[in-house]
Symmetry: C2
């Protein structure tokens, strides 16, 4: 058991070292040698746990996505309208990305690999499936426009939020992520929500976007 | 002059080789050795033109962005409303990315590097400035909602389209780019355009999105 704990600690140090480098200088510039040096480990120790730099990236994507999905899932309040949970959920995701360096690195890696890494490609599918559940509930609750294509809403809102995260990361290192999420939802809502509900959700969004502390 | 032409041809071969690899297996997996082998050149020839793999990436970003910006700029019709030029412009950009492998690779590299490469970071700024001009014209022409923040429109629409491109690339290798652009604009328009104009631009968008042939 001691050996297992030590092995787990080594794996953790490799991931933490890679995460720090990816967030500081980006994945392309983070060489395996840099990851080892920062972790104060030998090449052998790294190769015992990971067969390549991409294998480290895959582990980070999986762990970071677990955090992001966990945050989104736990943000759902059973008594609240699904549309509230959608809006609230995105701010919880923003806070999770801001607070968790592994989640932040995972976002960078998703973009870096796109369809070329199975874990990255799968992550898009899982995000879509998770988000689709709430959108379907919002449709059932009559908050979405009657003529709307729910799949188009899922794909478009998800892609728009990923785009907001991408630009926030490139331009401000993620500092204005909440603000960009708020602006994006502000412009998307009128194309999605019924005329009867838009006033309510606009106000709900305004209140959510003003919250400073991480909400969960 | 012969020497200069030959040197330019060598540089071209390096870029084309890197572009093909980046589009086939992604930037992280494309090693300098692979780029040289595919270009049938020596290491020396590559280092004569580029000091590093990232220098090749920078050249691709610059060339690809020139193509994308050129397509967007030339898509503007002086007699047409700015809002038409905005909608039309995005489809022209989609066609440019689909048709031009350097532009496609440049999009992948923008996402890979984000804020970590000066050319990638600059590209976001240039795209924003270019797009902002058309949005400002649409505001002046009274097609945008009176209470709207033009900067928020610019940032949100641009990020949403980049997000659509990102997901299209990851999930379908870019094959459904036009469709994703169309869906995104469909959902964004009601949050941007005045009630008086929305019917007209919805129809304009529907006609644009049905065009199959690249338009310029």
């Amino acid at each position: 058991m001691v050996r297992q704990a030590r092995s787990e600690a080594t794996r953790r140090r490799i991931i933490d070292s890679a995460v720090a480098l990816i967030n500081e200088i980006g994945y392309p510039a983070s060489g395996l040698a840099d990851i080892i040096e920062r972790a104060e480990l030998t090449k052998g120790a790294l190769y015992y746990h990971f067969e390549s730099k991409e294998a480290v990236a895959t582990a980070i994507i999986e762990e970071g996505m677990d955090t992001i999905l966990g945050a989104f899932r736990s943000s759902g309040r059973s008594g609240s309208p699904a549309m509230e949970n959608i809006v609230h959920g995105w701010f919880v995701v923003a806070d999770a990305i801001t607070a968790d360096s592994v989640a932040q690195a995972a976002c960078r890696l998703l973009r870096t690999f796109g369809g070329f890494n199975p874990a990255a490609k799968a992550a898009y599918g899982v995000l879509e499936a998770e988000f689709a559940e709430r959108v379907r509930a919002a449709v059932e609750q009559g908050d979405l426009q009657s003529n709307i294509d729910a799949d188009a809403v899922v794909a478009t809102v998800l892609a728009s939020m990923l785009g907001a995260e991408l630009v926030s990361s490139a331009m401000t290192d993620g500092r204005d992520l909440r603000r960009r999420f708020a602006r994006t939802l502000e412009i998307l809502l009128p194309g999605i929500v019924t005329e009867d509900s838009i006033g309510y959700y606009r106000e709900f969004l305004a209140r959510q976007s003003m919250r400073i502390l991480p909400s969960s």
